[in-house]
Point group: C2
Chain length 215, copies 2
């Protein structure tokens, strides 16, 4: 085994990475549109412009493929939402958090739907992931909020329920967008709809938490 890769190997690795990305991006779209169980590897192959056997070459089974898609989504999420910054206080942090979550609903609707489908179906892969990462994530945010409560910048709140509510309110614009479109009587949502959602959700959360700070 030599440390320096030969050009041939580099080319192969490049092709591999390119095809895997193509397959994962296509899968996310098809899974979101068709549902996890209804999606066939043939549909994914067709939409990616590949023969079905190639999809199975890169991902041995449909289950492996779904898990790769979910892992990609969960990684992306962890890195796309800012963590709380205790010095900035609750108002700025909660406002930014809600805004970023709504942006996610708008910009990564397919990823959000696939995640929701996997969660509602209680896919073990997703539950394990949440158990490993979400709980520790939440305990950090809980500590930050308790600091703010002690500084009397906001009222005491049930932190778990607060996050459950924020996630529910923001994700619903992606996961159940069909229902949202019917209620707003629009063919598809515009920038102003997402802005109104941000403003109203922020208003409820800040008022409900009794955020005192003016700025």
């Amino acid at each position: 085994m030599s440390d320096a890769k030969r050009p041939k190997d580099q080319l192969k690795a490049h092709i591999r990475a390119q095809n895997q990305t193509l397959i994962l991006e296509t899968s996310e779209r098809v899974f979101a549109r068709q549902g996890l169980a209804k999606t066939t590897t043939q549909m994914i192959a067709d939409e990616a412009g590949l023969p079905k056997a190639n999809v199975h070459y890169y991902y041995r089974s449909k289950k492996d493929l779904l898990e790769a898609v979910l892992e990609r989504i969960l990684e992306m999420w962890l890195h796309s939402v800012s963590e709380f910054n205790v010095e900035e206080g609750p108002k700025r942090n909660l406002t930014r958090y809600i805004s970023e979550k709504i942006d996610q609903s708008r910009d990564n609707k397919n990823a959000s739907k696939v995640f929701a489908m996997a969660l509602i179906g209680e896919e073990p892969f997703v539950l394990d992931y949440l158990r490993r990462l979400f709980v520790s994530e939440l305990s950090r945010e809980k500590a930050t909020i308790e600091t703010w409560v002690n500084e009397e910048l906001m009222d005491p709140v049930p932190v778990e329920h607060l996050f459950i509510s924020i996630w529910a309110m923001t994700q619903t614009y992606a996961d159940f967008d069909a229902q949202v479109r019917i209620m707003l009587q629009k063919e598809c949502l515009g920038e102003s709809d997402y802005d109104e959602a941000k403003v109203f959700i922020t208003r409820m959360v800040l008022a409900g938490c009794g955020v005192k700070e003016l700025l």
Copy 2:
């Protein structure tokens, strides 16, 4: 054709009604547990203690069966949540509405999950139903809220977004209960968890809507 039914017909009608109810109740449970596409008519038949052919005798196709299940869920929902009563004012009405929605999440978890699965999968049957009934329902509630706003019992609110948020927050305890259980670190939710949810959601909604009234 005689107007008076013969005993034989009554018996047949009774057997029919009984079997249909058994099949629908079983289906709701299995659909919720397995997902709509993964559920097989064989699973439903086994769990109902019937041969598969009997399921197909009462519901020609799996699609017909799912639609019958969904219709039953939607009918139940329409009759289980109180309408707004304008004289009672926003505080009592919103508090009761949220409480009833959380009770639904707790008591009809399977129904809620099946509905969520159908909605996220954009089943045409569900979308049509929502288009026909939800929009008119919402416009009545919108009028009531505008009355309260004019009487200065609460601040002006974007009514559509308010209902989207309330539904999202309350339904999430049924639809994504796996996530909720992980966050609360409990094997299953107890009465106190649902009560805390009710109190906190109500607090956010009343504060966010600037409900003035004290009682």
